[in-house]
Symmetry: C2
Subunit: 313 residues, 2 copies
Amino acid sequence: MRERAAAILGLGLIGGSVGLGLGGRLRRLGYDPDPEARRVAAETGAVDVVHERLGEWLGEASLVVLAAPPGALPELAARAAPWLAGDAVVTDVAGAKARVAEALSPLLPPGRYVPGHPMAGSERTGGRWADPGLFRGAVWFLCPPPGGGGGSASPGGSGGLPAGEGEEAFARVAALAEALGARPRRVAAALHDRWVARTSHLPYLAAAALAAVAAEEEPEGIRQAVAGGFRDSTRVVAISPEVGSGMCLANREELLAALERFRLALGALEAALREGRASELAGLLERARGARAALLQAERAEGSPAPAGGGLR
Amino acid sequence: MRERAAAILGLGLIGGSVGLGLGGRLRRLGYDPDPEARRVAAETGAVDVVHERLGEWLGEASLVVLAAPPGALPELAARAAPWLAGDAVVTDVAGAKARVAEALSPLLPPGRYVPGHPMAGSERTGGRWADPGLFRGAVWFLCPPPGGGGGSASPGGSGGLPAGEGEEAFARVAALAEALGARPRRVAAALHDRWVARTSHLPYLAAAALAAVAAEEEPEGIRQAVAGGFRDSTRVVAISPEVGSGMCLANREELLAALERFRLALGALEAALREGRASELAGLLERARGARAALLQAERAEGSPAPAGGGLR
């Protein structure tokens, strides 16, 4: 990475992990509106300097990571924009991309904002749990810069920018992801949202509903019936409800569509169960098992170490 | 345990694990209709003697464990019954109890059959994966012997048996569970089924539907979006579809009721999402998180080592 310095705006689990992961390779400037988050970042060494407010210091950074919750991003971007250096590239780490990119694009210089989403996290929130290895081996989705022509198939791009300016910003954010051990993957925002609705947001809501149903029973009894399967099936419910709620709302349309498909899939299983059609039920379960194994095997086969030079495609 | 010998009918994961766990403490006689299962049991030493068919040898056992899939249990019980010793107690390990107990009770001597369900397992099936420690620390549900008066609050029991005969059978099967390191818990069959519908069978069907929905997308793309959350949320789908289907069908009524509750819980989340009611959505997710934590904490607080003498209640 040939960057002057990185500014990390938001020093929670993700921002803190980015900071720790960059330690010793790049000067790191941090900001968080929360005094406790700033204290933790200073203690853990997630950044070299911790700032209480946005300001002129931001101009030092050539790379700016917006690591706030989705709902707080537009205000953060609007407040940061006036201080950005002319050559700075900006990325975010929100778990839904189309809405966020649409909200942030008008606030940031054209062709300099690369929407991003590292597929890594933890049930724990806060910079206290930051981990320099959090992103190692994980896919890091990056979307073509809106208005920057970087993802456009039409020559010349859009927004009247010099051709390739979006690509340059994209490559620099991809280099950040690679520096953190992640595997950058180019994806259109809409497609990203469609995928994560099915692999993250829908499982999260399903798990919340499972926990709610279990909690309807007499607790002293049902806790005896809670084994490892229940624990794993509902593990994602342990994330912060504010983060989870924001994530779901930021991907509302795709998540509603995924919920509709889920209802249909569950309905097919339920019909076979209700009618006692054993072989049909076993067949549906067999197909589900095969589908899961194929998805996970494919991911594993491609796992770390990342193929040399094969990071982007 | 003051038993002469244990007969283990069905030498898969559970039967094999019971056999290995009893090794050196009790003579173990095994049976399985499948030659491969018999070969594995002989190789792993899950039992001392492996039989090809049921017969007179069964009379040697004072403890009989029916470890076949739910669907195969009635035939197995009917074929074993003529060979049972007069003092033998019989248990099964099926994951649903009311239907199974109803089917098996008429086939076995009154007051000698104790329906059971160890809350332990694995995605893997087959005696090859048997593990003597599989049940350590796990709850092992036991139901009062049907027709044996053991669970009846009315004095004198039922079926014209001597009072306490059902209790004696119950205590002997509880001693088996304790010998394997499990924590026996007395529960009415109907209540057991209600609980496991919500903690095991519903999460299983939900996971199958999640896998099916993810598989609707282009696989090369969606596999990039599969992270740890999806893996955990759907882990239970990896069990044998035949076992899973049989388990669900054996608990059909309670599972259908649980599915109904699940649809309602999911519908509440979906409505808040659709209307963009962020604080309501966060509130529902917060409650789900708290409910899950309470269920799992309670279980953990009571975890191994089992309280001395506190195994039954």
